[in-house]
Amino acid sequence: MRQASGGSMSAATAALVLIALCAAAGPAACPSASAASLHDAIREAQRKVVKIYGAGGVRGLEAYQSGLLISSEGHVLTVQSYVLDTEDLSVVLDDGRAGSVELIGVDPVRELALLKLNVEDRSLPHFNLAAAPAANVGDRVLAISNLFGIAAGDEPVSVLQGVVSAIAPLEARRGAFDASFRGNVYIVDAAANNPGAAGGALVNWQGELLGLLGKELRSRATGAWLHYAVPVDQFIGAVETMRSGRSVDERPIAGQAPADPLALADLGVVLVPDLLPRTPPYIDSVLPNSPAAAAGLRPDDLVAFVDGAPMASCAAVSAAVARREKFDAVRVSVLREGRLVETELRAAASGDSPSPADESSSDAAAAGDSAAAASESSPGAPPPGAAEERSTEDDP
């Protein structure tokens, strides 16, 4: 038998074998199989999702949302919203216990908030962010949240099922969706992001956390509602920062202000005089023997991106650069004769730069732009796109 077919086995037949193996090896892929473990996984995950009640209740603004327990002592991760904007914030656990919370920190870019439940209990069920797997396109997922505020008291929150339809940056719909986060998200085919669902969990069929359900987003262009979750690897660093109390910064970039901010002059770039409300950021001149000169920047280059973020004015460029430490490398992309020219600039080393470890952590916390996060990556968790490409080989 092996004789008959082994020699002529093509890539196509190998793939077919693979499909057959997947089907046999993964009974979870079939809805009717392993029902007990699916029920258990759902029940376990429901226990780690909390109901949050706060401000709202008028003019179509729901006064409730969902949250995730992420530590045994009651840290609750949720979405930053008007619901949290009250003194009377209350969290109800799966078993019906209700408690007050305090706000530990927020991440304005990802629109996250970290709460701490005032409870004695040190053994609360919780999601382990550090152990969270990444999902691939086509994976079956469950959205677990208190959408529409349906569950109250000790009633378990709702569960919806679907698959990951795509992994794509929210940035791809910039302008259409009103979100400040632009990194990769899981797009799902379940109606996961209804009112009250924000802060809920996207989990796999083992009940492991894949992502955090975002707030409702509707395309201004098409009127379509987006159903999505922010992958754990996109916010795990930010959560660590918030937990350590380093992030109550309301500016678009989380983390502390740079101790020694970078200036355009350090790079040797002089922009045209900033006369208009939005002066196009053309380079007026380049200082000799400067990093800019070394990188080949020229007068009349138009600065298009700084570290991947689009720049619309001289003021924006100055501000973007000023958010970096003096020792940071900065990627500056300019338009020259219709072509995009990429450069990387670093101010002259002053010899007192901090250790690389600190640098990388501040980088992760500051990862407001998706391009940097996606291509440079935070160590440990591969970007979802990469995982997707590996999927066919990894599954068995």
Binding site: M9, A14, L16, A152, P156
Partner: protein, 596 residues
């Protein structure tokens, strides 16, 4: 290549014959698919497409008995009037008639006509449904199916024991199932099935809010257990009411659920429930929140009796409590009329959904043959007219009349008591010791018990004749029974069929006839075999009834008679009589007495 060989080796070791064979789907997957298509085929046959008389709207339904009874939503039948056209997936259109409605629970029972072998849905126990179960809805969303083959939408149970607020006091969804299987306009009244194709609920509602009237992953189904509990009532042709405890509860600061208001006319109050008592269990469910109580309460019809457990000062109390109606009859009838002319809330029923902005335009005509005639000609189809009697307080009195005659006719045939008259002499023993004698006639009764001798005169105001004391009116109750035997259903006073509800010490669900004469309500309970198992006399609305439970039936002089009578009143047993001898005077004499 080494990987390919490895994979091949694995395939071989699993018994796959060759590489081309390995391309065939896994047998487990195929089996699951076969099971699913079989479940859908079975479920589809019992799914009904319902169209209203104008052909402009409709909904869905599900057949539950071969003689054509089908469940749907009240808000589907409300605009239809007494007649509907119903399509099945055999492609045929059947006449259907309204049977009974439950406007609070948004349920309606209709009967499809013309066959006695309709396909029916297999009924599951919806209390066993759990979040995470697979489920599918069948129905006619957007009236897509010209051939009445239902649209199937597959999904998961998102939650159980859900509560959705009513609109006013109608259309309340309690203890319902929540699913992400798509529920759209036109799905209303249609079935929700489990993965095996067994009926677990009746779809009727969805959360929409700002996203327009299409599915957003949150649909609700009335649990089939609730529907089946109401079925006996719905078959009475009445407008069925839901129940209230006669007390309200609130969740206290300490998390306990306590009575914060109670009607002194309620059975709960008479059973000892007081202001401030902590409710522990209700109808065999733990009550942990005020919501949970509201949730459980909503699945019971008015008049149902449920066990209640409460605590006061560390002491636990238990009692079976009769639930009272939420509305009085006239109030409910008025609300129904209002709902029929002016629906209160957008529901996923009445498809096709009109565009809000374009509501004025003529509604699209359905391309379904057979509906045109119905739209033009509002006279009822013959088959429907034969089974429809309009009467205030009823959805369709014909069914009530039928049930009365069926129960009473079977009872008389079984017992030969129709000529028994009023003159009875009984004697026997009390279960607690001692003996008794009873002499009863059309005008008076004389009961001798070890505790004394008790008289009643039926010529006087009966409300003053409730002897013996602490029986609740045993002698008047017996008189009422004799009156029904003598005069029959038509000349007794007012008689109607209530439906099926729990009765007796073991709370068995039985048929109940209600009779009124001289301002007193008497309930007659019938076992499924036709025996009269009990009589309950309510001397006043706010008083405990005299409850007589009959058992130990035996032939006696050509008649079937109960030889053991358990008489209860309030919390206690008044007496248990064991009859040794029962003399019924010459029937002719009884007939003569009647002529006078």
């Amino acid at each position: 290549m080494s990987r390919a060989l490895y994979l091949l080796a694995v395939a071989v070791s699993w018994g796959v014959a060759d590489v081309y064979g390995a391309a065939a789907p896994d047998p487990a997957v195929l089996a699951a698919q076969d099971a699913r298509t079989a479940a859908i085929a079975k479920a589809s046959a019992a799914t009904v497409s319902i169209f209203d008389a104008t052909g402009a709207g409709g909904g869905s339904g599900v057949l539950i008995s071969p003689d054509g009874f089908a469940l749907t939503n009240f808000h589907v039948t409300a605009p239809c009037g007494p007649a509907m056209k119903c399509g099945l997936n055999d492609g045929k259109l059947y006449d259907a008639v309204i049977v009974g409605i439950d406007p609070v629970g948004d349920l309606a029972l209709i009967q499809l006509l013309g066959r006695d072998d309709f396909p029916v849905a297999e009924i599951a126990d919806s209390d066993k449904v759990r979040a995470g179960d697979w489920a599918f809805a069948a129905g006619n969303p957007f009236l897509l199916a010209d051939d009445f083959s239902p649209t199937i939408t597959f999904g998961m149970i998102s939650g159980v024991h859900r509560y959705q607020e009513p609109a006013g006091t109608l259309l309340e969804y309690t203890d319902c199932l929540q699913t992400d299987a798509a529920i759209n306009p036109g799905n209303s009244g249609g079935p929700l099935f489990d993965a095996q194709g067994r009926l677990i609920g009746v779809n009727g509602r969805a959360s929409f809010e700002k996203r327009g009237r299409v599915n957003v992953g949150v649909g609700y189904a009335i649990s089939i257990n609730q529907a089946m509990r109401f079925l006996g009532h719905l078959k009475s042709g009445r407008i069925v009411d839901h129940a209230t405890l006669g007390a309200t509860v609130a969740t206290r600061d300490d998390g306990r659920v306590a009575v914060d208001d109670i009607l002194e006319t309620s059975d709960a109050f008479r059973r000892g429930l007081q202001y401030g008592d902590v409710l522990v269990r209700f109808a065999d469910r733990d009550i942990t929140t005020a919501n949970a109580f509201k949730n459980v309460l909503g699945v019971y019809p008015s008049g149902w009796r449920v066990p209640v457990v409460w605590r006061r000062d560390g002491e636990t109390f238990t009692a079976d409590v009769r639930l009272m109606g939420v509305h009085d009859e006239a109030e409910l009838a008025a609300l129904v009329q209002q709902e029929e002319s002016n629906p209160s809330e957008p529901q996923p029923g009445d498809a096709p959904p009109p565009d809000d902005e374009q509501d004025e335009r003529p509604r699209p005509k359905l391309p379904i043959p057979g509906l045109d005639g119905l739209a033009k000609n509002r006279t009822l189809p013959k088959a429907v007219a034969e089974r429809y009697i309009a009467r205030p307080g009823y959805a369709n009195y014909w069914y009530n009349d039928q049930a009365q005659q069926r129960l009473w006719g079977r009872y008389l045939e079984r017992t030969s008591l129709d000529e028994a008259g009023y003159d009875w002499q009984l004697q026997g023993a009390l279960e607690t010791g001692g003996s008794f004698t009873l002499a009863i006639s059309e005008t008076q009764a004389d009961l001798a018990l070890p505790t004394g001798r008790f008289l009643a005169s039926f010529a006087e105001d009966l409300s003053q004749q409730l002897s013996p004391p602490r029986s609740g009116g045993l002698l008047v109750a017996l008189h009422a029974w004799q009156r029904l035997l003598d005069r029959g259903l038509r000349r007794y006073g007012e008689v109607y069929y209530l439906g099926r509800l729990p009765h007796g010490p073991d709370n068995r669900v039985e048929d109940c006839l209600v009779g009124y004469f001289e301002g007193m309500e008497t309930r007659y309970f019938f076992a499924d075999d036709g025996d009269l198992t009990g009589v309950e006399l309510f001397a006043a609305d706010d008083a405990d009834p005299c409850e007589i439970t009959f058992s130990d039936f035996a032939e006696h002089a050509g008649r079937r008679l109960p030889r053991r009578w358990l008489v209860r009143h309030g919390d206690g047993v008044f007496a248990e009589l064991v009859i040794a001898d029962w003399t019924i005077a010459d029937p002719a004499a009884g007939a003569k007495a009647e002529e006078k």
